[in-house]
Amino acid sequence: MDNISIIGAISIIVAGLTMAIGSIAPALGEGRALAQALSSIAQQPDETNTITRTLFVGMAMVESTAIYCFVVSMILIFANPFWEYVVSKAGG
C-alpha cells in the first residue's frame, strides 16, 4: 500500500475504534447516574429540582469524555493534518 491508502485506512479505522471504545464508559456512567437520581427522586420527591439540576450538570461532566472522543474522531475524518500533509506532498 502506498502512503495515502495507509493513512486513510488507519484514520477511518481508528476513528471508528475511538467512538466504539470511548463511548462505553460514559454510557455506563450516565446510566448509573440516571438510575441513582431516579431512585433518589422516588425516595425524596420534594428534592426533585435540586436532584435534576445536579444530575444535568453531572451528566454533562460525564458526557464530556464521550464528546472528546467524538471530536477526535471528527478531526481524524474531516480535518486530519497527516492526510492533508500527504495530499499536499503528492499534489505539489
Partner: protein, 238 residues
C-alpha cells in the same frame, strides 16, 4: 462538508473575509439587542402586561432564582454575566431551525471565546469580592499544589469549550449525514432533538459558569449548609 462554519466564507473583501461564524454572531447580537430594546421601551407596572414583557420577566426571574439557588448569594452581581451567556447560547442554538442558518456555537472559536470569558470572570469576581487574598487559594493546601490548581483551571475551561462545540457540531453533522440516508421524515426528529440539546447545553454552560464563580466566591461555610456547599465544591473540580 464543513466541520466548522469558520471555513464558510460568505463575503471576501480584499484581505478581509467575513465568515459565517462572525456573520451569524452579529445576527444573533442584533436580534437580541433590538428585541430587548423594543420590549423594554414601554414597560408597564400595571396589572395588564404585554406578552413580550411577560416573557422577559419570566426569563429574568427564572435566571435570578436559579443563580440564587446555586450560589446562595444575591444574584444581582452575577445576573448580567451568567444570564448573557445563557441567553446568547440559547438563542444562537435555537435559531438552528431557520433554514440557511449555521449556529455560531458550532464553531470552536465561539465556544472557546465564551469559555475564555468564564476563565477570566472567575478570578475577577472572586478578587472583587474577597480582595487579593483569593490568590492564596491557588497555593492551598501547600505550594506544591500550585501547578495542579492552574492546570485544573485551564482544563476545565477547555472542557467547557469542547463540550459546547462538540454537542452543537455533532447535531449539525448528524443532520447532514441523515439527510443522505433518510431524507424524508427522520431529519425533522433529529432537528427537534437538536433543539432540546441546544437548550440543555446553554443551561449547562451557564450553570457550570455559575458553579465555578460560586466556588471561587463563597466566603465562609455556614454550619447548616456544609454538606451542600462541599457537594458543589466537588462539582467544580471537573
Amino acid at each position: 462538508m464543513h466541520i466548522t462554519p469558520d471555513t464558510l466564507i460568505i463575503f471576501q473583501w480584499g484581505p478581509v473575509s467575513l465568515n459565517a461564524t462572525i456573520l451569524f454572531t452579529w445576527c444573533v447580537m442584533v436580534l437580541m439587542v433590538v428585541g430587548s430594546w423594543l420590549i423594554t421601551r414601554k414597560l408597564s407596572t400595571e396589572t395588564h402586561l404585554s406578552r413580550w414583557q411577560n416573557l422577559i420577566e419570566v426569563l429574568v426571574t427564572g435566571m435570578r432564582d436559579e443563580i440564587r439557588d446555586i450560589s446562595s448569594q444575591d444574584p444581582g452581581r452575577y445576573l448580567s454575566f451568567v444570564g448573557t451567556l445563557f441567553l446568547f447560547i440559547a438563542v444562537s442554538n435555537l435559531l438552528g431551525i431557520v433554514p440557511g442558518y449555521v449556529p455560531p456555537t458550532s464553531s470552536f472559536s465561539t465556544a472557546a471565546g465564551l469559555a475564555l470569558c468564564v476563565f477570566v470572570a472567575v478570578p475577577l469576581y472572586a478578587i472583587s469580592q474577597k480582595g487579593l487574598s483569593y490568590l492564596k487559594e491557588y497555593i492551598e493546601p501547600s505550594i506544591f499544589m500550585l501547578p495542579f490548581n492552574i492546570i485544573g483551571e485551564i482544563s476545565r475551561t477547555f472542557a467547557l469549550a469542547v463540550r459546547l462545540f462538540g454537542n452543537i457540531m455533532s447535531g449539525t453533522i448528524i443532520a447532514a449525514i441523515l439527510l443522505g440516508i433518510a431524507p424524508l421524515i427522520f431529519p425533522v426528529l433529529m432537528q427537534v432533538l437538536g433543539l432540546l440539546i441546544g437548550l440543555i447545553q446553554a443551561y449547562i454552560f451557564a450553570i457550570l459558569a455559575m458553579v465555578y464563580i460560586a466556588a471561587a466566591t463563597h466566603v465562609q461555610r455556614k454550619e447548616g449548609e456544609t454538606g451542600r456547599q462541599s457537594e458543589k465544591g466537588d462539582l467544580s473540580d471537573g
